[in-house]
Symmetry: C2
Subunit: 418 residues, 2 copies
């Protein structure tokens, strides 16, 4: 099978020009769902799918799928679907998303041009609003397709300007009536940029993910007493920030301890708001949001338990009121063994040393994996950076990872490996 590096480069580069931004530091773009740039990117994809001989469908939340039923395939058999997303964060890069969509298209083109005859239909998919950049909820389109959320609920979401997803999709002509049902797919594969440095450090072109991290979020509030910074002696203070400082230390220590056994376990206090936040007033309240991740539910639960205990210790030691609200739990997602094996075998077959590791970021694949067999492949991110115009993946790496994707899809679709 021949993956055409230049064709892939052209698709990604031309798509990257939609919503392109002025920048001194790389190829940046802003493609928010329902924007002109989003319409242009979607129309480019539809044209490319049709040019590759695929039938295009658009579902009610704007998810796009191109379908090819090979001559020897059973049209009623579950498809092997491949894809990712086309939207970006504000001032994002050109690979995060498009590599997976156009890599999928290139993989299908390569299979089609080969002497293989898949036994199952193949689909190329682009999910809506993966980044949550406009409507605030990440992996939105795939959550609807996977049945976790109704199309009505998603369409009613409003952006900062009060416009609904329904209106934004109608405005760009991508509020469809077709059906995308991952539950009916036989298998799913996504190729994405790593957004980390493990492939770069190993000088490898492709990674095969064995699990997508679970994310737990907690809101912690520490209440002391706001008071005059001059008139309140040190021994009469109940300073919420001093207590919060001790707590932040303890969160970091707890995660470092758990990480010695579970390297994927991390905990971060990223959002930290002090009130009243005035120089000459002792802080009365600190509100924090914690991001806790791990690839096993046990490691996450153990971390939350330790953090809860640490908060109790801090509250007692500093005489503050403290509360912890575990308000979000997206559990870890294991990839399906046969998808992992197909990707690993395919990489081997083209001479690539595929690395196995977990994904610390969330992906549409986590939604799809709840309803069908799923796999996730990574291409290297230079310097590990993403969500910035500095995001970059070498074109040779793009092509190599796409070769692994094509081989994996061919295996799952029932052709013999070459």
């Amino acid at each position: 099978m021949h993956v055409d590096r230049e064709r892939l480069r052209r698709d990604i580069t031309e798509t990257g020009a939609f919503g392109a931004i002025e920048t001194d530091e790389g190829h940046g773009r802003t493609v928010l769902t329902g924007s002109e740039a989003d319409r242009d990117a979607r129309e480019y994809l539809v044209d490319a799918l049709e040019a590759a001989g695929m039938d295009v469908r658009v579902d009610p939340v704007g998810n796009v799928a191109g379908r090819w039923v090979p001559d020897g395939a059973d049209p009623d058999a579950g498809a092997v679907a491949l894809g990712s997303h086309l939207d970006s964060v504000p001032r994002g890069g050109i690979f995060d998303g498009p590599l997976g969509v156009f890599g999928a298209l290139e993989a299908v083109r390569a299979i089609r041009a080969s002497d293989r005859e898949p036994l199952r239909p193949l689909e190329v998919v682009s999910f809506t609003e993966e980044e949550g950049g406009r409507f605030g909820i990440g992996t939105l389109g795939s959550s609807v397709a996977a049945g976790d959320r109704s199309a009505e609920a998603a369409l009613a979401l409003e952006d900062d300007e009060g416009e609904s997803l329904a209106d934004r999709l109608s405005a760009i002509g991508f509020r469809g009536e077709d059906r995308l049902a991952p539950a009916a797919w036989d298998a799913w594969l996504e190729l994405h940029v790593e957004q980390g440095t493990r492939l770069e450090a190993a000088d490898a072109s492709v990674g095969v993910v064995d699990a997508i991290t679970g994310i737990t979020n907690c809101r912690v509030v520490i209440e002391g007493t706001a008071d005059h910074a001059g008139a309140t002696p040190m021994d009469e203070r109940t300073d919420a920030l001093v207590a919060a400082g001790a707590f932040v230390q303890r969160v970091s220590e707890a995660a470092s301890a758990i990480a010695t056994e579970h390297p994927a376990a991390v905990a971060t206090v990223g959002d930290h708001v002090v009130e009243p936040n005035v120089r000459n007033v002792i802080p009365g309240r600190v509100t924090m949001e914690l991001d806790i991740r791990g690839v096993t539910g046990e490691s996450i639960d153990e971390l939350v338990d330790r953090i809860r205990a640490a908060l109790g210790d801090v509250a007692r030691a500093h005489s503050v009121e403290a509360s912890l609200d575990r308000f979000r739990d997206d559990g870890p997602t294991e990839m399906t063994g046969r998808c992992v094996a197909a990707a690993t075998d395919a990489a081997d077959a083209v001479g690539l040393d595929a690395r196995r590791f977990h994904s610390a970021a969330m992906h549409d694949t986590a939604n799809v994996a709840r309803v069908t067999d799923a796999g996730l492949l990574f291409a290297p991110s230079e310097g590990g950076v993403s969500h910035t115009p500095r995001e970059w993946t070498d074109w040779d790496d793009c092509a190599a990872a796409t070769r692994a994707l094509a081989g994996a899809a061919a295996r799952l679709a029932g052709t013999e490996p070459t």
Copy 2:
């Protein structure tokens, strides 16, 4: 000498009605410099000064003074001036400021009605913009009168709406052309609410301040590396917030240690800003502003030294970049011995057990003390609260503290004590 409790109550209550706010928790008011409420309060004062037989002057920044030259006094002798301010913070109380202005007026009325014949002129003063509530700089009017700042510079200051102090004062008819020169005063006394609980705890009606705290401000910046909260393992992080948490602990510990020897010494991290402050991003930078106080320059310097050393320790331990900018030093101000003695003797003479302590808050008296002899008296604050509608001082305490003020003024003006 007879201080008229009801007359004092009426002056404070009627002035408290200007800018009065709706509240369920007490008598609140918002009197920002140059507002209608400020004009009403100033006009009420001018009328009351004139009714008490005083000549009224207004200087270019709106400071108001009423002057009485007793029959037996040398009109060219340095005056004994008493006063405070009429402006408030937004949603402040009715005693912070007006007690000192109308207490001064009541003291002069009491002296005038007595059989004493002072040898020096007496003045009742109200300084502009003590709170800094509209133009951002506290004790503004007294800083101009004391020569620390030019009238031009003060008049050019703009509020949040872009209106200058000059315009605001012109609009209310209080941009005067007279001269107020504290340097020419023989002595100055201010009566103010304590804004603390020391008098209440001692069940005392009057406090005599021996020193006004010095305030040093530092800006501390800790720089780590903002990074993906999921993809960055615990042992590869440079988390600015974890380092800042350790630093905040150390600031509190350093101040508590110094406070065992210098009880007035305090240090507060009140302003604490995390960047980017997003839940799933490791904090890259924390910017803090510190408020450090003490009644000796040595205690403040020692505290800053310890904080600087702690910051160095934290930077090394957490591999972060850290900087400390000591951007403001308003040194401590000692009150003048003869003013302290006059106030203490006067309190004794009327059977009040005057407490001696420092002021942890800044006052106009700190500016005046740089150019002439000065003293500061406190009346109790119920519960220690101020800058809120819940601010309250019992009317009996107002009258008692005013009796001490009147006695002190009479002593400084050269009459014999009764």
